[in-house]
Amino acid sequence: MKFNRLILANLFRKKIRLALTLGSFAVALFLFAFLAVVKKAFTGGADLANARRLVAINRVSIINPIPLSYRDKIARIPGVQAVTHNNWFGGIYQDEKNFFPQFVIDPENQRQVVPELVVPEDEWKNFLKDRQGAIVGARTAKRFGWKIGDRIPIKTTIYGTGGAWEFIIDGIYHGQRREDDETQFWFQWDYFEERVPERFKGLVGWYAVKLDSPDDAVRVAKAIDAEFANSPYETKTETESAFAASWVKQFGNIEFLILTIGSVVFFTLLLVTGNTMAISVRERTGELGILKAIGFKDGTVLFLVLAEALAIALVGGFLGLGLAILAIPALASALSGLLPNLILSKSMLTAGIGFALLVGAASGLLPGLGAMRLRVVNALRRV
């Protein structure tokens, strides 16, 4: 492009100012990526939720269990393809810092209801045969260096007196999608039922219900809740995405919080860069006058100012996002288990570049319009 050298020369006119402006863009874009990743980690469950799955919990709260006997009753409701049940184990592996979610599963129906978490067939067969067997997500296996055959002691904090339960890793599951949670630890219902104190026996944490069609969701949910209405264990059934969303709400309005921080970052950056561009253009009023005097049109002058602002935005944006690409995996590794899906996706990077360009364009627009409207004779007086 013919004007490249002119744009570049103007950009490098004040190197310290350029570095500081690039730095503010980089920091803002890093923060943008970080906030986007955290938001996604909190709310991503709803996005990943299967439209053909319902979750039935105790109407009082998810902490309260519901009877195992509900399984067959739910399975008989028209529109239900399969039912599985889970319990939260909440155990500790070696140290409390080593958090990862452990679930008691119903091996008979688990794979049918949750097909996106894939276990190799031979490993699954071994698991079914092994009462103490466990299936672990690939990320957790990698995190602790576990391999098939390893014996893993996990201390219970909810069930019993706190002794360690021993499990044998029979398989490692992988998610079909990049965002799928690969941190879970599954073990057999029978083993759980055998070891828990009497008062916990025959009780499950929740049911996951697979439907024939997503269109049946409302009807089946109502039917399940109606089935157990006025019983000691009333249920609350909702779609998996609604369940995930209400789970996130327990932490507070994360989305609002992130949006607020993001907006503050956006406007601060806009003010900083807008001010920088305005100063930069004002300093060059005379030169812009010269350009217009020798034949640069108003539109070309506007283009030059905007191109400078956009170039700063783009380079600063790439720096910030590059930093995020390097830092977020490290952060994800440090927070593994607590926030499982800290993944910087391509769509977030694209949105980040879009965000940078938007701020760049907005910050360059007013000074650019000012430069465009500059009268040559007035500008030349300021040389």
Partner: protein
């Protein structure tokens, strides 16, 4: 007061008729130029002299299409510029006017080469064609060996040479010089004037120059005096050049 003469040379390159320019300061109207008529032929070298505030620079700005008159017309090579839109006037300026200023007005972050190339960026010339034109212009002003220097690495005289190269690189119809030697020592001023004379004599350029300096003005073909916006006197200097001169009656 100079008498009105609208019967100038109709084939003149630049024809100015009844040119008025007034500024408003609050309620007060300040008449800067008052009914000027002027004809300049191709190849003429005209100097405008006069005290500060007499309207020399205003006249130059109007002739260069940098400002618009309050009344009257300016035609250059048949194009009447006074009624052109701002956008057309900018295009016209790029094609027809070469501007040389007292303070050189180079872009400090560009090299001499890049400064000279600026007007060509507005054309459809290829990079190699632009290079050829720039090298020709730079060699005419005698700065081929300083082409890649930045303005801060050049003397005042050299900077003005770069400005002249920038003014002539697109081969404009005429050059407007606003105090081209005003910021130079006598020796450098002589060199610049010799260069401008060369542009007129050797390259057939038409030059209109504003100056305070009578020695510089004496190098022009014709010297016109402006006083309070009125052309009051004309004198031939080097040789007859101005085809038709008339002072507009106020």
């Amino acid at each position: 007061m100079v008498s009105v003469n609208n019967n100038g040379n109709s084939s003149a390159l630049i024809q100015v008729r009844g040119l008025n320019k007034a500024y408003h300061r609050g309620e007060e109207e300040i008449q800067v130029l008052q009914g000027l008529n002027l004809d300049v032929d191709k190849g003429d070298f005209v100097a405008f002299m006069g005290p500060s505030g007499s309207g020399k620079t205003t006249l130059l700005n109007l002739l260069g299409g940098l400002d618009v008159p309050s009344a009257g017309t300016i035609s250059v090579a048949g194009d009447e510029i006074t009624h052109m839109s701002s956008s057309r006037l900018t295009e016209w300026r790029a094609r027809h006017v070469g501007l040389i200023f007292q303070m050189y007005n180079l872009i400090p972050v560009l090299t001499a080469y890049q400064n000279v190339e600026l007007p060509l960026l507005l054309t459809r010339l290829s990079r190699s064609e632009r290079r050829r034109h720039v090298e020709t212009a730079v060699s005419i002003v005698g700065l081929a060996d300083r082409m890649h220097h930045f303005p801060r690495q050049l003397s005042g005289g050299q900077e003005q040479r770069v400005a002249i190269a920038r003014a002539i690189v697109s081969d404009p119809t005429f050059l407007l010089c606003d105090e081209p030697t005003g910021d130079l020592d006598r020796r450098s001023a002589d060199e610049i004037m010799a260069l401008i004379e060369e542009l007129v004599d050797k390259h057939g350029k038409t030059v209109l120059m504003v100056t305070h300096d009578p020695i510089v003005a004496a190098r022009a073909d014709t010297v016109l005096h402006l006083e309070k916006g009125v052309l009051v006197e004309a004198s031939k200097s080097r040789q007859p050049a101005v085809a038709g001169l008339a002072g507009g009656a106020a």
